[in-house]
Symmetry: C2
Amino acid sequence: MVTAALRRLEALTEALVGPVAAAPAGAAPIDLVTAALGSVGAIFDGRHDHSRRRQAIIDATPELQERELIKLATLATTLAAALRDRGIPEPAASLTSQAAMAVFRVAFERWVRDPGEPDLPAIIRASFADLRTLIAGPPAKAHT
Amino acid sequence: MVTAALRRLEALTEALVGPVAAAPAGAAPIDLVTAALGSVGAIFDGRHDHSRRRQAIIDATPELQERELIKLATLATTLAAALRDRGIPEPAASLTSQAAMAVFRVAFERWVRDPGEPDLPAIIRASFADLRTLIAGPPAKAHT
Protein backbone atom coordinates (compact mmCIF):
# COMPACT_ATOMS: atom_id res chain seq x y z
CA MET A 1 0.00 0.00 0.00
CA VAL A 2 2.79 2.41 0.90
CA THR A 3 4.69 1.28 -2.19
CA ALA A 4 1.64 1.87 -4.41
CA ALA A 5 1.15 5.33 -2.87
CA LEU A 6 4.82 6.14 -3.42
CA ARG A 7 4.70 4.95 -7.03
CA ARG A 8 1.62 7.09 -7.53
CA LEU A 9 3.34 10.16 -6.08
CA GLU A 10 6.39 9.49 -8.27
CA ALA A 11 4.20 9.27 -11.38
CA LEU A 12 2.41 12.53 -10.49
CA THR A 13 5.74 14.25 -9.76
CA GLU A 14 7.19 13.11 -13.08
CA ALA A 15 4.08 14.25 -14.99
CA LEU A 16 4.26 17.60 -13.22
CA VAL A 17 7.93 18.48 -13.64
CA GLY A 18 8.60 16.77 -17.01
CA PRO A 19 6.88 19.44 -19.13
CA VAL A 20 8.51 22.22 -17.08
CA ALA A 21 11.98 20.87 -17.83
CA ALA A 22 11.07 20.28 -21.50
CA ALA A 23 9.52 23.69 -22.19
CA PRO A 24 11.23 26.08 -24.62
CA ALA A 25 13.67 28.61 -23.21
CA GLY A 26 12.04 31.81 -21.99
CA ALA A 27 8.64 30.21 -21.34
CA ALA A 28 6.56 32.27 -18.91
CA PRO A 29 5.58 30.85 -15.50
CA ILE A 30 1.94 30.56 -16.60
CA ASP A 31 2.97 28.53 -19.68
CA LEU A 32 5.14 26.24 -17.55
CA VAL A 33 2.42 25.46 -14.99
CA THR A 34 -0.26 25.12 -17.68
CA ALA A 35 1.88 22.48 -19.39
CA ALA A 36 2.55 20.80 -16.02
CA LEU A 37 -1.14 20.61 -15.08
CA GLY A 38 -2.15 19.43 -18.55
CA SER A 39 0.29 16.58 -18.19
CA VAL A 40 -0.97 15.67 -14.71
CA GLY A 41 -4.56 15.85 -15.95
CA ALA A 42 -3.77 13.42 -18.76
CA ILE A 43 -2.70 10.80 -16.18
CA PHE A 44 -6.32 10.51 -15.09
CA ASP A 45 -7.61 9.87 -18.61
CA GLY A 46 -9.72 6.70 -18.52
CA ARG A 47 -9.49 6.54 -14.72
CA HIS A 48 -12.69 8.34 -13.80
CA ASP A 49 -14.49 5.32 -12.31
CA HIS A 50 -11.40 4.32 -10.35
CA SER A 51 -10.89 7.89 -9.13
CA ARG A 52 -14.54 8.18 -8.05
CA ARG A 53 -14.28 5.02 -5.96
CA ARG A 54 -10.98 6.18 -4.50
CA GLN A 55 -12.43 9.61 -3.67
CA ALA A 56 -15.38 8.01 -1.84
CA ILE A 57 -12.93 6.20 0.44
CA ILE A 58 -10.95 9.40 1.02
CA ASP A 59 -14.16 11.35 1.77
CA ALA A 60 -14.94 8.84 4.52
CA THR A 61 -11.45 8.85 6.05
CA PRO A 62 -10.05 12.03 7.64
CA GLU A 63 -6.57 10.49 7.82
CA LEU A 64 -6.55 9.95 4.07
CA GLN A 65 -7.78 13.52 3.52
CA GLU A 66 -4.75 14.73 5.49
CA ARG A 67 -2.48 12.52 3.41
CA GLU A 68 -3.96 14.04 0.24
CA LEU A 69 -3.27 17.54 1.60
CA ILE A 70 0.33 16.61 2.32
CA LYS A 71 0.68 15.10 -1.15
CA LEU A 72 -0.64 18.26 -2.82
CA ALA A 73 1.66 20.42 -0.69
CA THR A 74 4.61 18.22 -1.67
CA LEU A 75 3.70 18.52 -5.34
CA ALA A 76 3.40 22.32 -5.02
CA THR A 77 6.87 22.50 -3.44
CA THR A 78 8.29 20.25 -6.18
CA LEU A 79 6.67 22.37 -8.90
CA ALA A 80 8.09 25.57 -7.36
CA ALA A 81 11.58 24.00 -7.38
CA ALA A 82 11.13 23.01 -11.05
CA LEU A 83 10.17 26.61 -11.88
CA ARG A 84 13.24 27.95 -10.06
CA ASP A 85 15.35 25.50 -12.08
CA ARG A 86 13.97 27.23 -15.18
CA GLY A 87 15.10 30.62 -13.90
CA ILE A 88 11.81 31.81 -12.38
CA PRO A 89 12.78 33.74 -9.22
CA GLU A 90 10.99 33.70 -5.87
CA PRO A 91 8.32 34.63 -4.91
CA ALA A 92 7.02 34.19 -8.48
CA ALA A 93 7.88 30.47 -8.51
CA SER A 94 6.02 29.71 -5.27
CA LEU A 95 3.07 31.98 -6.07
CA THR A 96 2.52 30.40 -9.48
CA SER A 97 2.95 26.84 -8.27
CA GLN A 98 0.71 27.28 -5.22
CA ALA A 99 -1.98 28.90 -7.37
CA ALA A 100 -1.62 26.14 -9.95
CA MET A 101 -2.13 23.45 -7.31
CA ALA A 102 -5.16 25.40 -6.02
CA VAL A 103 -6.59 25.31 -9.55
CA PHE A 104 -5.78 21.61 -9.86
CA ARG A 105 -7.47 20.86 -6.58
CA VAL A 106 -10.73 22.62 -7.47
CA ALA A 107 -10.70 21.18 -11.01
CA PHE A 108 -10.04 17.65 -9.76
CA GLU A 109 -12.87 17.98 -7.24
CA ARG A 110 -15.29 19.03 -10.00
CA TRP A 111 -14.08 16.23 -12.27
CA VAL A 112 -14.21 13.45 -9.70
CA ARG A 113 -17.72 14.37 -8.55
CA ASP A 114 -19.12 14.66 -12.09
CA PRO A 115 -21.20 11.54 -12.75
CA GLY A 116 -20.65 11.79 -16.52
CA GLU A 117 -17.44 11.34 -18.50
CA PRO A 118 -15.82 14.76 -17.99
CA ASP A 119 -12.46 15.78 -19.45
CA LEU A 120 -10.03 16.70 -16.65
CA PRO A 121 -7.51 18.65 -18.79
CA ALA A 122 -10.40 20.71 -20.19
CA ILE A 123 -11.74 21.42 -16.68
CA ILE A 124 -8.23 22.45 -15.57
CA ARG A 125 -7.92 24.88 -18.50
CA ALA A 126 -11.38 26.32 -17.81
CA SER A 127 -10.58 26.68 -14.10
CA PHE A 128 -7.38 28.59 -14.86
CA ALA A 129 -9.33 30.91 -17.16
CA ASP A 130 -11.97 31.33 -14.44
CA LEU A 131 -9.32 32.20 -11.85
CA ARG A 132 -7.74 34.74 -14.18
CA THR A 133 -11.12 36.48 -14.53
CA LEU A 134 -11.91 36.19 -10.82
CA ILE A 135 -8.72 37.73 -9.50
CA ALA A 136 -8.70 40.39 -12.21
CA GLY A 137 -11.93 41.71 -10.68
CA PRO A 138 -15.32 42.20 -12.33
CA PRO A 139 -15.07 43.13 -16.04
CA ALA A 140 -17.85 45.72 -16.29
CA LYS A 141 -18.59 46.87 -12.78
CA ALA A 142 -18.25 50.52 -11.82
CA HIS A 143 -16.16 51.04 -8.69
CA THR A 144 -17.46 53.83 -6.53
CA MET B 1 -2.01 23.60 24.12
CA VAL B 2 -4.97 22.25 22.17
CA THR B 3 -7.14 24.98 23.65
CA ALA B 4 -4.63 27.66 22.61
CA ALA B 5 -4.49 26.21 19.09
CA LEU B 6 -8.28 26.14 18.89
CA ARG B 7 -8.55 29.74 20.11
CA ARG B 8 -5.98 30.71 17.50
CA LEU B 9 -7.93 28.97 14.73
CA GLU B 10 -11.13 30.64 15.93
CA ALA B 11 -9.48 34.07 15.86
CA LEU B 12 -8.14 33.45 12.35
CA THR B 13 -11.53 32.18 11.17
CA GLU B 14 -13.30 35.22 12.59
CA ALA B 15 -10.77 37.60 11.01
CA LEU B 16 -11.21 35.81 7.68
CA VAL B 17 -14.99 35.62 7.42
CA GLY B 18 -15.93 38.82 9.29
CA PRO B 19 -15.04 41.20 6.42
CA VAL B 20 -16.74 38.89 3.89
CA ALA B 21 -20.01 39.07 5.80
CA ALA B 22 -19.62 42.84 6.32
CA ALA B 23 -18.78 43.75 2.70
CA PRO B 24 -21.24 45.87 0.68
CA ALA B 25 -23.80 44.05 -1.47
CA GLY B 26 -22.54 43.09 -4.89
CA ALA B 27 -18.87 43.01 -3.88
CA ALA B 28 -16.80 40.95 -6.31
CA PRO B 29 -15.04 37.74 -5.13
CA ILE B 30 -11.63 39.43 -5.41
CA ASP B 31 -12.81 42.30 -3.20
CA LEU B 32 -14.18 39.86 -0.61
CA VAL B 33 -10.99 37.81 -0.34
CA THR B 34 -8.78 40.90 -0.39
CA ALA B 35 -10.72 42.23 2.60
CA ALA B 36 -10.53 38.83 4.30
CA LEU B 37 -6.76 38.51 3.86
CA GLY B 38 -6.16 42.11 4.94
CA SER B 39 -8.00 41.37 8.15
CA VAL B 40 -6.04 38.15 8.77
CA GLY B 41 -2.79 39.96 8.03
CA ALA B 42 -3.62 42.61 10.61
CA ILE B 43 -3.82 39.92 13.32
CA PHE B 44 -0.07 39.44 13.01
CA ASP B 45 0.72 43.12 13.49
CA GLY B 46 3.30 43.41 16.28
CA ARG B 47 3.72 39.63 16.39
CA HIS B 48 6.70 39.23 14.07
CA ASP B 49 9.18 38.07 16.73
CA HIS B 50 6.67 35.64 18.19
CA SER B 51 5.79 34.34 14.72
CA ARG B 52 9.45 33.87 13.81
CA ARG B 53 10.07 31.79 16.93
CA ARG B 54 6.90 29.78 16.32
CA GLN B 55 7.90 29.18 12.67
CA ALA B 56 11.33 27.90 13.73
CA ILE B 57 9.60 25.25 15.86
CA ILE B 58 7.25 24.32 13.01
CA ASP B 59 10.17 24.09 10.56
CA ALA B 60 11.80 21.55 12.84
CA THR B 61 8.66 19.45 13.39
CA PRO B 62 7.03 17.62 10.44
CA GLU B 63 3.94 16.87 12.51
CA LEU B 64 3.38 20.59 13.14
CA GLN B 65 3.89 21.29 9.43
CA GLU B 66 1.09 18.85 8.67
CA ARG B 67 -1.10 20.54 11.25
CA GLU B 68 -0.44 23.91 9.59
CA LEU B 69 -1.46 22.44 6.23
CA ILE B 70 -4.69 21.14 7.71
CA LYS B 71 -5.35 24.50 9.33
CA LEU B 72 -4.85 26.36 6.04
CA ALA B 73 -7.11 23.87 4.24
CA THR B 74 -9.78 24.35 6.90
CA LEU B 75 -9.52 28.14 6.53
CA ALA B 76 -9.82 27.83 2.72
CA THR B 77 -12.96 25.71 3.09
CA THR B 78 -14.42 28.19 5.58
CA LEU B 79 -13.64 31.12 3.28
CA ALA B 80 -15.30 29.35 0.33
CA ALA B 81 -18.43 28.81 2.45
CA ALA B 82 -18.44 32.50 3.43
CA LEU B 83 -18.22 33.46 -0.26
CA ARG B 84 -21.13 31.14 -1.12
CA ASP B 85 -23.11 32.81 1.69
CA ARG B 86 -22.54 36.07 -0.19
CA GLY B 87 -24.00 34.59 -3.38
CA ILE B 88 -20.75 33.64 -5.13
CA PRO B 89 -21.49 30.35 -6.93
CA GLU B 90 -19.22 27.35 -7.23
CA PRO B 91 -16.62 26.83 -8.62
CA ALA B 92 -15.85 30.56 -8.31
CA ALA B 93 -16.09 30.47 -4.51
CA SER B 94 -13.61 27.60 -4.13
CA LEU B 95 -11.25 28.85 -6.83
CA THR B 96 -11.01 32.31 -5.30
CA SER B 97 -10.65 31.07 -1.74
CA GLN B 98 -8.04 28.43 -2.60
CA ALA B 99 -6.05 30.99 -4.59
CA ALA B 100 -6.37 33.50 -1.75
CA MET B 101 -4.99 30.99 0.74
CA ALA B 102 -2.16 30.20 -1.69
CA VAL B 103 -1.34 33.92 -1.76
CA PHE B 104 -1.55 34.13 2.03
CA ARG B 105 0.76 31.16 2.42
CA VAL B 106 3.48 32.57 0.17
CA ALA B 107 3.12 36.06 1.67
CA PHE B 108 3.26 34.75 5.24
CA GLU B 109 6.37 32.72 4.39
CA ARG B 110 8.09 35.85 3.01
CA TRP B 111 7.01 37.90 6.02
CA VAL B 112 8.00 35.41 8.70
CA ARG B 113 11.48 34.83 7.21
CA ASP B 114 12.19 38.55 6.76
CA PRO B 115 14.62 39.57 9.52
CA GLY B 116 13.43 43.19 9.43
CA GLU B 117 10.06 44.63 10.41
CA PRO B 118 8.01 43.83 7.32
CA ASP B 119 4.34 44.73 6.87
CA LEU B 120 2.29 41.55 6.30
CA PRO B 121 -0.82 43.23 4.84
CA ALA B 122 1.42 45.09 2.35
CA ILE B 123 3.17 41.83 1.37
CA ILE B 124 -0.23 40.15 0.90
CA ARG B 125 -1.40 42.98 -1.39
CA ALA B 126 1.84 42.84 -3.39
CA SER B 127 1.59 39.06 -3.68
CA PHE B 128 -1.96 39.25 -5.03
CA ALA B 129 -0.81 41.82 -7.59
CA ASP B 130 2.13 39.57 -8.51
CA LEU B 131 -0.17 36.57 -8.96
CA ARG B 132 -2.50 38.60 -11.19
CA THR B 133 0.44 39.48 -13.43
CA LEU B 134 1.86 35.96 -13.35
CA ILE B 135 -1.27 34.12 -14.38
CA ALA B 136 -2.15 36.78 -16.97
CA GLY B 137 1.01 35.80 -18.82
CA PRO B 138 3.97 37.97 -19.80
CA PRO B 139 2.97 41.56 -20.62
CA ALA B 140 5.09 42.19 -23.68
CA LYS B 141 6.08 38.80 -25.04
CA ALA B 142 5.20 37.84 -28.59
CA HIS B 143 3.47 34.47 -28.81
CA THR B 144 4.40 32.50 -31.90
